[in-house]
């Protein structure tokens, strides 16, 4: 997984879409910004495209930073690409069961309501510097990259996803009401 198209990036540096993009860029991912309102501009030195179809290279993963009602259309666009991406990732707060079902029907892997920056932080333990429960255990040293970055690795015991049982239960109850 090397190239990630981030759909719905904001050019404003106080928006989560901007700094999730930056964090993943700094960790070596080939980040591709997508936002029709910013097409033709650069964000963090990367040219912005209006639509997924405009990207002139293959994309491994599409990260959807849009409200849930737009997720289905983004998945439809993603499925029209050649080659197809392997993963549809919907950001923290974004859940669309319809979009997920469509992507899975076509053999894509789907993640919903998670942030790849947070998940990278869990699997590198960088997020633990903020007191966050990574829900991982490891007796191995974290690998260091230049710039003081701890590289993500899977040499750890990982407890079924980043959310705790209680927080997952609370969210399900919230969705019901």
């Amino acid at each position: 997984m090397k190239s990630i198209a981030l759909v719905g990036i904001s050019p404003r540096d106080n928006r989560p879409s901007y700094f999730a993009f930056k964090y993943l860029l700094e960790r070596g991912y080939r980040m591709i910004p997508v936002n029709p309102g910013q097409a033709g501009h650069d964000i963090l030195g990367r040219p912005v495209y209006a639509r997924l179809a405009d990207i002139p290279e293959p994309v491994d993963m599409v990260d959807i930073f849009r409200a849930p009602q737009y997720a289905l259309a983004v998945v439809q666009e993603a499925l029209a690409l050649t080659p197809r991406p392997q993963v549809i990732w919907m950001q923290l707060g974004v859940r669309s069961d319809e979009a997920a079902a469509l992507a899975e029907q076509h053999g894509l892997k789907v993640v919903m309501n998670r942030c790849p920056k947070i998940e990278y932080g869990r699997l590198s333990s960088e997020i633990a510097w903020m007191g966050v429960n990574t829900r991982t255990l490891s007796s191995k040293r974290a690998k260091l990259l230049p710039g003081g970055i701890q590289r993500m690795s899977l040499d750890r015991t990982t407890m079924a996803g980043g959310a705790t049982d209680a927080s997952t239960r609370a969210q399900r109850n919230d969705e019901k009401t």
Binding site: Y23, M130, G131, L137, S138, A142, L154, T158, M159, A166
Partner: protein
Amino acid sequence: MTDRTPDRTPGFSTLAIHAGAQPDPTTGARATPIYQTTSFVFEDVDHAASLFALQTFGNIYTRIGNPTNAVLEERVAALEGGTAGLAVASGHAAQVIVMHCLMQPGEEFVASKKLYGGSINQFNHAFKNFGWNVVWADPDDVTSFERAITPKTKAIFIESIANPGGVITDIEAIGKIAKSAHVPLIVDNTLATPYLCRPIEYGADIVVHSLTKFLGGHGNSIGGLIVDAGTFNWSREKRYPMLSEPRPEYQGIVLHETFGNFAFAIACRVLALRDIGPALSPFNAFLILTGIETLPLRIQRHCENALAVAHWLVNHSAVAWVSYPGLPVDRYYGLARKYVPKGAGSVFTFGLKGGYDAGVKLVSNVTLFSHLANIGDTRSLIIHPASTTHRQLTDAQKTQAGAGPDVVRLSIGLEDKDDIIADLEQGLTA
């Protein structure tokens, strides 16, 4: 790369030793190093800007975060089943930090009237100076919590096991009241520790600790900790602007939107700890972490010793009553079976038939018990509240606070139980 993700949660004892602690990435040190430093160098100007704007993870300054403290934070969050933690200078500091993130001047919170006396003081006096108004409710009548809620209520605060009287609070019933009022339930879990009770499983949204007591466990370090359960929807009614509104301190960032289910712990760190300042020393964090590694073993022995002492006291001719929820005759025994089935802790009170003078005599006569104002030590501790912590109150006030003239509080340690009992025996008969 193979995905070696076992879909299972390690047990409590494994978490107590390993959660949060990896070998040091630079030196390979296996024990958690004490990062005794005020500050951390930036990679470059851009890295510094990203850190200050909360856009990347990392260390800036020990008042805001420190790698030793971070291990402690993740450790306790993991043991409680929370999403994140924040370590601070004391249990009292934890309570100020939590309330700062929830309350505006003129608002209210409902608290159990059976709490640690220090918390009662803090709520009645210091918090009122901030305009945070406590409304007291009775944990023995959970409907009193419902009746105490008004449109100004922002939180409910209880203890799982209340100090000093061995009161077990019905967390689940009060959690339901908090949920229907759409306010977070805060549980002080100091006396139970997560080994005996995990309040998040019964509806707590925030857990606070005095680490000074059983978690540290050796009577050597003051500390406090806040655990975010990740269960409260801060954006639902926008009543918690620290979490749901753009923050001018951080260029308009919205913490709940940005950090999701650990936003409350982040708010406590970057809005409250940063600006109010009660940071924990990394050296204290190190000592407390070492204590937590043996928490399951210690609590088992604390409970076993306490139950033996309580049984012995019940049958002693100088003793009028014993308030220990581990005894089948105790009024809280039923709640104890539900909330703390592995043991009812090791802090409890008993009454002396000889009243005030007998209490003074006992604390003077004991030679193994230490006469002091702390609990949750390896050592057995004793205090006669009427002649010490509560001496400024009238007799009526003392009795209402559970500190009547005849009351003695014990914190049973890890010595041999025969020696603990022998010391009480000689203290009562000398």
